[in-house]
Symmetry: C2
Subunit: 526 residues, 2 copies
C-alpha cells in the first residue's frame, strides 16, 4: 500500500510547515480519502519559488540531451505507476480506468515527444549572420541568436485531465523542456494523484542528476496568488476557468515586472452542420456528435457546446434525432462536487433564458450529471448575448438554427475566440460555403473537418489555443511541441569567440542542428 505524506515539494525536500490540512475526496462517493495534505504557508510558497530560481542557472545550463534524458526518465516513471495508482486516480476523479490508462500513456508520450524536440534542436531557433568586415559604409559584426528558457514557471493544472494537464502534464513538460524549473500548484481535485506523480518526477530527477528545485509542488487553496506574484516566477501556465485564468492574468500584469500568462480557459467549440452532410448522413452525424457531447461526461475543453445549422426540414429532423439520443444517455459522475454544482448553475442559466428552449434531458438533480440539449434563438448569437458565449462545462450542447448562408456568417462573426471550430460537410457543401475557412481562421486555433473536437492529438502540428477567451494569448498552444515556444526567449551574441558560444551556435555545429545561416537553412559546419 502506498503511503501518502501530503507534504509540499520544495527544492528536493518535503515540507509541511503549515497547520491547514486539506483532504481529497472520492469523486463517486463523496467520502474523504484517508490522507491529509498540508497547505503551503506563505514561507513555503516563497521557498518553492526560490528553490526553482536557484535551480534555474544550473538546469538551463544542462545540455538539451541531459534535459531530454530527464523527460524520458519521467515518462518511464509514469509508465511504471501501476494498477493501484490507476485506481487512486479513478477514485479521485470518477473517470474510468481505461481512460486513465490511456491518459497515462498520453502523458508519458508527451514527455518523450518533448525529449525528441530537444534532440531535434529546432527549439533553439539558431540563427547566424556572419561578419562582413568589408561591407560599406560599415562592417557587419558576427551575430548569433538562440533561445533560452525564461526562468521559473508556475503551472496550474486542470481537474479534467488529472495526468495530461496536471502535475506532469503538457505545461510542465514544455517548461522543463525549455530549461525552466517548475513550481506546480497541485489541483485540489486530485491531490493524492498529484503526490504520486510528483514522486515519479522526483525519482526521475534523482536518477538523471537534475538540480534540486527543478520541480516543486505546493498544495493549498489561495496559494496561487502568492506564487504568481513571486518575483522569481517568470511565466505562468494555467488550464481552467475563465474567471480563474483571468484573475491570474490580471495579477501577473499588475506585478512590478509583468510576466506572461498562458491560460487556456473557455471555449464552446462550435460545430457547423452543413446541408449536404445532413442529406448524406444525418444519422451518423447525430450519433457521433452525441457521443462527443457526452464523452467523459462532457468534461473536455473541446466539448462541442454549440451546433449551428441552416433552417430546413432536414435540420429540424436532425435536431430531433440528437435530442432523442441525448435523452437516452445515462447520467454520469462528474470530477467533483464543485464541477457538478457549476454544471447545475450553467443549466439554470440556460433554462431561465427566454431565448433558449430545453429540448432533452432529465431534470438535473442528485449527484450525477444529466445530459441535456437546448436550442437558442439565432439572434442571441448575432447580438452577442453572453449566455451563448460562456462555456457550460458538462454533457450539454446548444443548437442554433440560422435562416440562411448569410446569417450563418453573421452568427459565426458574433462568436468570441474558440479553441476549435468544426465543419461537418460534403464536398459540395465546402464549395458552397467556401467563405467559412477564412472566417473561422479569425476565430479559432484549430479548424476540423468531418471530425469531432474532443480528442486532441499531441504532435508537432497541433494547436490547442486560440483567441481570447479561449486562451489569454492566441500566440501559444498548450498541447503539441509548439508549446515549448511560450517559455523561450531569444538571445543574441555579437562578436563572440567560438569557444564561448553555446554549442547550438558554434562554428562546428556539434549538435548537428539546422540553423539559419546568412538567411539560408543549413546543417553544415561553418
Amino acid at each position: 500500500m502506498t503511503r501518502f505524506f501530503g507534504h509540499n515539494y520544495i527544492g528536493g525536500q518535503r515540507s509541511a510547515a503549515g497547520s491547514v490540512r486539506l483532504q481529497s475526496i472520492d469523486a463517486s462517493s463523496g467520502e474523504r480519502l484517508p490522507h491529509d495534505f498540508y497547505q503551503a504557508t506563505e514561507q513555503e510558497v516563497d521557498a518553492a519559488a526560490k528553490a526553482a530560481a536557484q535551480a534555474y542557472p544550473v538546469y538551463r545550463a544542462l545540455s538539451a540531451q541531459r534535459r531530454a534524458q530527464f523527460l524520458e526518465a519521467v515518462a518511464d516513471e509514469l509508465d511504471a505507476l501501476g494498477d493501484e495508482f490507476i485506481a487512486l486516480v479513478c477514485r479521485e476523479t470518477a473517470l474510468p480506468a481505461a481512460r486513465i490508462q490511456g491518459e497515462r500513456g498520453r502523458t508519458s508520450g508527451q514527455m518523450r515527444l518533448f525529449a525528441n524536440v530537444l534532440r531535434r534542436g529546432d527549439f533553439y531557433g539558431a540563427r547566424i549572420d556572419r561578419a562582413l568586415p568589408e561591407r560599406q559604409p560599415l562592417p557587419r559584426p558576427d551575430l548569433r541568436q538562440y533561445r533560452i528558457g525564461l526562468g521559473p514557471v508556475a503551472v496550474f493544472g486542470a481537474s479534467n485531465f488529472p495526468l495530461a494537464f496536471s502535475t506532469a502534464g503538457g505545461d510542465t513538460a514544455a517548461a522543463l523542456a525549455a530549461g525552466c524549473p517548475v513550481v506546480f500548484k497541485a489541483h485540489s481535485g486530485h491531490m493524492a494523484t498529484a503526490e504520486q506523480v510528483a514522486d515519479a518526477i522526483m525519482r526521475a530527477a534523482e536518477i538523471t542528476g537534475m538540480p534540486a528545485g527543478v520541480f516543486n509542488m505546493i498544495f493549498g487553496a489561495g496559494v496561487g496568488e502568492a506564487l504568481v506574484k513571486h518575483p522569481a516566477i517568470q511565466a505562468v501556465g494555467f488550464t481552467g476557468s475563465l474567471k480563474g485564468g483571468r484573475a491570474l492574468c490580471d495579477m501577473a500584469a499588475a506585478r512590478p515586472q509583468p510576466i506572461p500568462v498562458f491560460a487556456e480557459m473557455s471555449s464552446i467549440n462550435p460545430v457547423i452542420v452543413l446541408p449536404g452532410a445532413l442529406h448524406a448522413r444525418a444519422e451518423n452525424v447525430a450519433r457521433d456528435l452525441t457521443a462527443s457531447v457526452v464523452q467523459g461526461c462532457g468534461q473536455f475543453c473541446t466539448n462541442p457546446g454549440l451546433v449551428i445549422g441552416i433552417r430546413s426540414p432536414q435540420f429540424s429532423a436532425f435536431i430531433q434525432q440528437v435530442a432523442r439520443l441525448i435523452g437516452d444517455q445515462p447520467a454520469q459522475t462528474m470530477l467533483n462536487a464543485g464541477t457538478l454544482s457549476s454544471y447545475g448553475k450553467g443549466l439554470q442559466r440556460l433554462l431561465a433564458h427566454p431565448g433558449i428552449e430545453h429540448l432533452a434531458g432529465t431534470a438535473q438533480v442528485g449527484n450525477q450529471a444529466q445530459p441535456q440539449l437546448f436550442k437558442a434563438d439565432a439572434s442571441l448569437l448575432i447580438k452577442g448575448d453572453e449566455v451563448l458565449q460562456e462555456e457550460v462545462f458538462g454533457p450539454t450542447s446548444i443548437f442554433v438554427e440560422v435562416a440562411d448562408q448569410a446569417q450563418l456568417g453573421t452568427a459565426l462573426n458574433g462568436l468570441h475566440g474558440q479553441l476549435t471550430a468544426t465543419i461537418i460537410g460534403e464536398p459540395e457543401d465546402l464549395q458552397q460555403f467556401s467563405e467559412l475557412t477564412a472566417l473561422l481562421e479569425q476565430k479559432v486555433g484549430r479548424i476540423l473537418l468531418n471530425g469531432y473536437p474532443t480528442g486532441v492529438e499531441v504532435c508537432d502540428a497541433m494547436v490547442h489555443g486560440g483567441p481570447y477567451p479561449a486562451t489569454s494569448d492566441a500566440r501559444g498552444t498548450s498541447v503539441g511541441t509548439l508549446a515549448i515556444d511560450r517559455f523561450l526567449r531569444p538571445l543574441c551574441f555579437q562578436n563572440y569567440p567560438d569557444s564561448l558560444l553555446p554549442d547550438a551556435l558554434k562554428n562546428a555545429n556539434p549538435l548537428r542542428i539546422q540553423r539559419l545561416v546568412d538567411g539560408q537553412p543549413c546543417r553544415d559546419p561553418l
Copy 2:
C-alpha cells in the same frame, strides 16, 4: 515645395474632422513649422481602427509574395524621398543630414529584408503531421499548422529614430509583413516627417493594389489611449519611455480582451571593462566608449549608461581619461525641448544623490545637452537603488568601481533587464571571468564582446529586446526579422482537403518552403 495637409490617414482617405490643431517645431531654433496637424477626434480614432479591421481579412488573404511587393514598393518610395525631405527631418529632429540619409537606407533596407522573409516562408512555421489511419488504439488525423497575422496592430514610434523606429519603421514593417494592417500614432516630435512617410506608404499601397486601410495614421496627444483600448486592435508595438510603455501595457491588460504589447522602454546597457583590456588598450577603449556615449547626442536605446570595472590604479586612470574626453565633447541639440528637459531632470537626480559623484561636464544650461560623466558607489547597484536603474536619455554615463571579481557578479546581479550588455576584454579576461556570459544571458537580449552597443544591425540574428524593463516581453525583438513573430499566431487544420488548405500547407508545396513534415524538415512535395 511639398504641401502639407496635416490630415489623419484613415482607410485610404484624409480626414481632418477635429478642431484641435498641433504644430511641429524646428528642433534647433524652437520655431513653429508653418504646418498645422489635426488631432484625431474620438470618432477618427474609431474610424482608423475600424478601417484597419476592415482591411485585415483582405490583406491577410493576399499571398506573401503580394505583401512582399508592397513592402518593396514602400522601400522604393522611401528611397525616392529627396533632399527636401532629408532637410525637413533634420529640421524637426536636429539630427544631422548624413545620419538621416543613413537611417532612410536602413528603413528601406528593413522593408526589403521583411520582403525576403515573406519569400523565404519560414515565418509560416509550416508543420504537417500526416494521417496515420492504421495507428492503434486510435488513428491519427491529418494535422497541419501555419501562422497568420493577429489582426490590426497599433504602432507608436520613437522620437530618436524618426524613420527607422517610426511611421515606416521596424514595428510597422513587421506588422505589415505578418499580414496585420497598422494604425500608426504619429510622433509629435516629427509630424511633418510622418506625413511625408505616410504619403510614401500610401503611394506604395496604391501602386501594389493593397486594400484601403492597410495603413492608417492619426495625429494627436492622448489619442493613444483610445487606440489601445479599441476592440479592433489586436496587438501594440511601442518604443519610448518606461512610463509611457508601462501605461500602454496596463491599459492593454485591463481590456475586456487583453492584447499583447511589445514595448521597448528603458535600458542602461552596462559596459564591463575588464583588467586585461585596460592593460592592453585603455586609450582606445576610452576613446571608443566616449564616442558611443555622445554619438547622436546619446539619444539611443542602446546608449552605454553604465560602465563597470574592478578597482585598480589602471581603472582609476581609465576613468580620468574618459572624464577628460567627455569634458572635451561639445554640447549638442537634442530631439526636442521635452527630451532636453528630461535630460536635465535626469542629471539633477544624479547630481542630488549622495552616492554619486560628478566627474566631468559643463553645467547643464541653455538649449543644448552638455555631455556629462558620473561615478556611483557600487553599493547602489548591489542594493538595487533605483537611481542607477533608470535610463537618463542623453550624452551621459555612470562609472561604477567594484572591489573584485565576486563583487562584479553581485553588482551585475543587481541590474534589471537590459537590451544589451557589453564586455570589453582580452582573451585572458574571458578565461578569468568565464562566469560573465551565463550571468549576462539572464539579464539581457544581446551580449557584445569588444564592440559598442550603439549601432543595431538589422538582420536575422539580431535581438533588440530583453527582460523587463528593457521591454515588456522578453520573448520579442523589435529589430531584425524575428520581430515578425510578435504579430503571428499558429492555426491548425485537421482533416482538411488539399484544395481548401493555404498554399503553405498544400501537398504539392507550391511555395517551395521548408516545412516540418512528420518531425523532419522537408521541402519536397508530399
